[in-house]
Amino acid sequence: MSDPILQISNVSKSFGGLKVLEDVSFNLTPGQRFGLIGPNGAGKTTVFNLLSGVYAVDRGSVVLAGKDITNLPIRERIGLGLSRSFQNIRLMPHLSVIENVLMGQHCQSSQITEMLKPINWMKNNKWKQRAMETLENAGLKVDPGSTVGELPYGVRKKIEVVRALMSKPSVLMLDEPAAGLNARETSELADFLHEISTRNVTLLLVEHDMNFIHALCERVAVLNFGSKIFEGTPKEVNRDKAVLEAYLGTSTLEASDAA
């Protein structure tokens, strides 16, 4: 097995007295499609927030491609290949579709000469072309000039994935990308992500839709009350007693055993 691209080791996090993550560890190998699942409030989004630097890690370490990024400033992480989306869409509401996507490439185009180019006045700008191509590849047929605040939920959700892709990440973290999408949109998204992963992008997915996880992920970790209670293949996860208890509650399981 190749060296892990992302190593999360014994990470803990509390907010005030509330322990939200407790000694969580897992590794992602390059090109892997890794699912992070668990009941509401288990700490999945908090893992993303620690990886992207929004919150500081209390204990433990995060290593990306051999480099310790545990205490790296937020803005330096995307340039190292770590990119993410958000559970509740966080596009810039007053920017257009294409402008939001252009923001995703900021880390590659922040030299002063690029920053000063009046790209809105240029017909053929390479950044704009790249943004348009990625939008098309993702099957997004929207007016690139329309303001995102006015677009439907499913479209905005997809634009967020496209924006996260624009930085050419080595690890792409998506927080419930299929939430709110219909069945057809969900399967299109799974196909799209599958194709991305063949281009050597490692995927870390938080998702409640288990069909989506089964269709896409090679490996799954389950969080419950801030602790990892299981790691294995999606098939194994369905048979694991601790996972069933976490999702269904102990009493239901005992009740069904008794019956």
Partner: protein
């Protein structure tokens, strides 16, 4: 030749436009600057001193005012950016009060009696400077710098995750914004030949922020509309019933805030106009 009345209106319109663009730059990146008059006063007085006491040619005096106000904008941004929301508004407001207080208590600057600036700049220079200011801001807003400023306005945390140096963008906006407000002050001093601390009042800071917010902070068209509206409409109303013009003007402002809370000129509006324009151009 322009008539004196028209020339007077054009001069004040130019001053207000440059001033509004100065305050606009911070607003576009999400910070409200209620200390605009402070930066304008610094520009005016630095330029006045350069001209009167140091004997600089007008161009260099104005440049001095621009650099002075820009430098203060840079320095003041660090304490101001530690505050947020309404506290930031109050911090910038307090800054302008301090500037005005310092001028009033400095005999060298003429104190409460004001300062006569002997060198004179004609209205043509104001027009040229205004056009260059507008061009500069439109260009900035068409570039990635403007994009990043607007992104920071919308969501600073996500901008930072995208790799943006959010603090750097905000400091830049305060610095360049201070410099533009300083430019308006420096040219004011040389066009009207007289400056006094009372002119750079709290009310002026409020008005310029209103120009910007009612015009709209999403595109560079906003301050152009806002400053023109606020400068010209009172003049138009002056032609009619004098008793009621402030009432009508006040009602207009309230209506605009109710029906266009994001400002009169929004990005969506500009996009729609461009689409209509392109379509009719295609036929």
């Amino acid at each position: 030749m322009m008539g004196g009345y028209v020339e007077g209106i054009i001069a004040i319109l130019c001053i207000n436009l440059m001033f509004a663009y100065g305050v606009y730059l911070t607003a576009a990146s999400g910070q409200l600057n209620l200390g605009g008059a402070g930066f304008q006063a610094i520009g005016a007085y630095v330029a006045g001193v350069c001209s009167n006491s140091l004997g600089f040619p007008i161009f260099f005096s104005v440049l001095g005012g621009v650099l002075g106000a820009g430098l203060i904008g840079f320095l003041i941004s660090f304490p101001v950016l530690r505050t947020r929301g309404v506290y930031m508004v109050l911090a910038t407001f307090a800054f302008a009060l301090v500037v005005s207080g310092v001028i009033l208590n400095t005999d060298f600057l003429g104190g409460a009696t004001g300062m006569v600036v002997t060198a004179y700049t004609p209205v043509e220079v104001l027009i040229l400077a205004t056009l260059l200011t507008i061009l500069l801001v439109f260009w900035l807003m068409a570039s990635r710098i403007g994009l990043v400023m607007r992104a920071v306005h919308d969501d600073d945390v996500v901008s930072e995750i995208m790799g943006v140096n959010v603090r750097g963008v905000q400091v830049f906006a305060f610095t360049l914004g201070g410099a533009l407000a300083g430019l308006s002050g420096a040219l004011y001093a040389h066009h009207y030949s007289f400056i006094e601390a009372q002119y750079f009042s709290a009310l002026l800071s409020i008005f310029v922020l209103l120009f910007v917010l009612i015009g709209g902070t999403q595109t560079a068209w906003g301050p152009l509309f806002g400053a023109s509206f606020f400068t010209l409409v009172p003049e138009v109303l002056r032609l009619g019933d004098t008793e009621w013009r402030y009432v009508i003007f006040g009602i207009l402002i309230v209506l605009m805030m109710i029906f266009r809370p994001e400002g009169i000129i929004t990005r969506t509006l500009v996009h729609r106009v461009i689409m209509v324009f392109n379509r009719s151009g295609g036929h």
